[in-house]
Amino acid sequence: MSPSNWTWFHRLASPPYFYRLAGRLAPWFGWAAALGLAAGLYGGLWLAPADYQQGDGFRIIYIHVPSAYLSMMCYMLVAGASAIGLVWRMKLAHAVAVAAAPLGASFTFLALITGSLWGKPMWGTYWVWDARLTSELILLFLYLGFIALHQAYEDPRSGERAGAVLALVGVVNVPIIHYSVVWWSSLHQGSTVFVGSKSDISASMLIPLLTMIAAFTCYFAACLLKRIQAEILEREQNAGWVREMLEQT
């Protein structure tokens, strides 16, 4: 491949370029998230009919599923960025992984707590040690371990590498979470939304759910971009471009 094909990648990996790009993109994702959340909540909490089995209790789905989805997507991002950081020693990649991990931990926490509040009226218990719940709890510990490892070393570069290795080893947990309801008998219900085939859910319930998933994703993008900006600023505080930028404002 000719070098010119990679110029966009090198530009994206340049801290000043990414810092400015993130600053410009974050507000758009923020507004998209706000609109999507407003529409999704109205559709999910008011317009959608009660479930024939679960009554109005099913409405927890509109925060539970987007949180669970993002808890796994964010982990893939942390692991992917960690791999790039390890292999190509790219500073920005580690910054992305560090910025994303606390958000992933928050979504994992929300998936667990909303699932628990959903489980009590439907299953009769807040918690069971079944495959889906346990593997999601392990995901939370992986995030916390990643964050702790980062801060455990005197030299931040050692912390970055140790965290990245943990993130990569932990990837094995993501397909386990996803397929746990298929591989083992579980109290947790199976998937209701399928890509490319008909979903087991009526449109009046499905549309708000897809809206909420999109809105949560935009919210995640907005928060992540802001966090990456802060990471870059901290790492590059002595760089010339940071001084120039601060003088301009």
């Binding site: 009660a50 009554g55 109005d56 926490f109």
Partner: protein, 52 residues
């Protein structure tokens, strides 16, 4: 939903649905506020350092 009462009680599931939504709102608002604040503080600190 057909009535405000039904909405507020969530057809008897209010004790589970509303705490779930409130916890999610608290966590998400905190996550939205923290990075912007950290960024502003860092910029201000760097500007002070530059001026000194």
């Amino acid at each position: 939903m057909t009535s405000l009462h039904e909405f507020l009680t969530m057809g008897g599931y209010g004790a589970y649905v509303w705490p779930a939504y409130i916890i999610a709102a608290v966590v998400m608002v905190a996550n939205a506020i923290v990075p912007g604040r950290r960024l502003r503080r860092m910029r201000a600190a760097l500007q002070r350092k530059d001026a000194a």
